[in-house]
Subunit: 261 residues, 2 copies
């Protein structure tokens, strides 16, 4: 009974950035009706609207009504965009996708039925993410809202978890440590290689194995390298190759590994 | 002509640690004759010898002669082990596997035919690495030595590159940034989740995608997260969740991302 109700959901995407782009492609791929796309600029609204073959506008008034509105905009724009959405779509279930913003922000913006739909993944417009590989964390203002968000997430075929706003803050923080910071270290590695005429491509098998390893070993067991071995001679030799900025990073992370081995 | 000569290589493994274990399994899998295994302790010599179904001993005098001796021991033990190997196997091609140690160390230890065989990967005894995914960097004291090492590496079906001792130092350093440090960040992420009763497993799709992304985007283009967006509100909120140790890491890496975006 519940399924037949929620499966008829139509969705509006408010925002057309990195996350909204992959999410829109996944929703359409799952046969969910994306009834319209809004973005602040005509250009980005059109890019995503045309990609999804759906109505788009930079004028929120022009959008059709829908069962669910998913708002995925920059955090600093969120309060204002949410209050426009709350006014224009009073009978919709309204959800935001921001890891670090509490569900309360939706109530405070005047939404009456609301929730959070947080796909924990790294989204870039240049690369469409397959949602079957995404963990999505949902939270609803009531049981029906939670069920609807859970249903949409499960239609995208990834894993679905419930998470409170407080848990989501920690998830987002943990994601910064598991994704954004490792990527910054890849960038440092690429820079070291570039300066010495070596191909970053040679690092890819190592990067892949490092990621694959923590599927079967805890990161503490998976740790290798000079700091893990307490190999001061290698560390001293490596320090001599680094400029001041990378040396600080090297020392801080090596100290962490030494202390926690 | 060269191939038919080198393809008859027999190999001794001196050392039975993380790297030697995966290398030994790969050599046997490629049909290369591993004629014996030595380790400082009887116990670890036996573990690897039995695994490979080959002769093992903790007495180096007991090992048979072989065409190639691959020495894979802790860096600080290397000079002494190399000089024993040079004395006992005067007609073998002797190679070490250490990223940060120059090829000269082999000459200085008294080896007459020598080289370096550096498989750039993260090796743990608990997880056997598939060498078809490994980039191996080789360097020989002369053309014939280089050819032999290149041949052995190519038999393992991974990518093979030539690298000088100086280039290898930078490769090893870049590997620390691309592998050991990201793994330390996974450990921090796991710790943050553990403290808040959340499963590290939920991070795995994110970790995988972060690694997969840099196959098609440069790490600078692939960068996402609050620091990449310059989102001070989220960063401030995240800082408030961290203890002193993780806060220093957070600030240093966020500053790097802010400066390099």
């Amino acid at each position: 009974m519940l399924e037949s109700t929620v499966s008829s959901n139509s969705v509006l995407l408010v925002g057309a950035g990195n996350l909204a782009t992959s999410l829109g492609v996944a929703l359409c791929g799952a046969g969910i009706d994306v009834a319209g796309v809004w973005s602040r600029t005509e250009e980005s609204a059109r890019a995503l609207g045309e990609r999804l073959g759906t109505f788009y506008s930079c004028d929120m008034n022009a959008l059709p009504q829908a069962d669910v509105v998913i708002v995925s905009v920059a955090d600093e724009a969120l309060p204002q965009v949410l209050s426009s959405v709350a006014t224009l779509f009073p009978s919709s279930l309204i959800a935001h996708t921001a890891g670090s913003i509490s569900m309360d922000a939706l109530r405070e913006a005047g939404c009456s039925r609301y929730g959070v739909f947080y796909p924990m993944q790294t989204f870039s417009r240049l690369r469409i993410v397959d949602f079957s590989t995404v963990s999505t964390f949902v939270e609803g203002c009531d049981k029906a809202a939670t069920e609807t968000l859970r249903f949409i997430a499960s239609e995208l075929r990834g894993k679905v978890y419930d998470a409170t706003s407080e848990q989501r803050r920690y998830l987002h923080l943990a994601a910064v440590f598991a994704c954004n910071f490792p990527n910054a270290l890849y960038a440092m590695s690429a820079e070291l290689l570039r300066r010495n005429g070596l191909p970053f491509e040679a690092m890819l098998p190592l990067i892949d194995e490092t990621a694959a390893k923590v599927h079967s070993l805890h990161p503490k067991e998976a740790q290798t390298g000079p700091a893990r071995r307490g190999d001061e001679a290698v560390m001293q030799s490596q320090r001599s190759l680094l400029d001041e900025e990378l040396l600080s990073v090297y020392n801080m992370l090596s100290d962490y590994i030494l202390k926690n081995r």
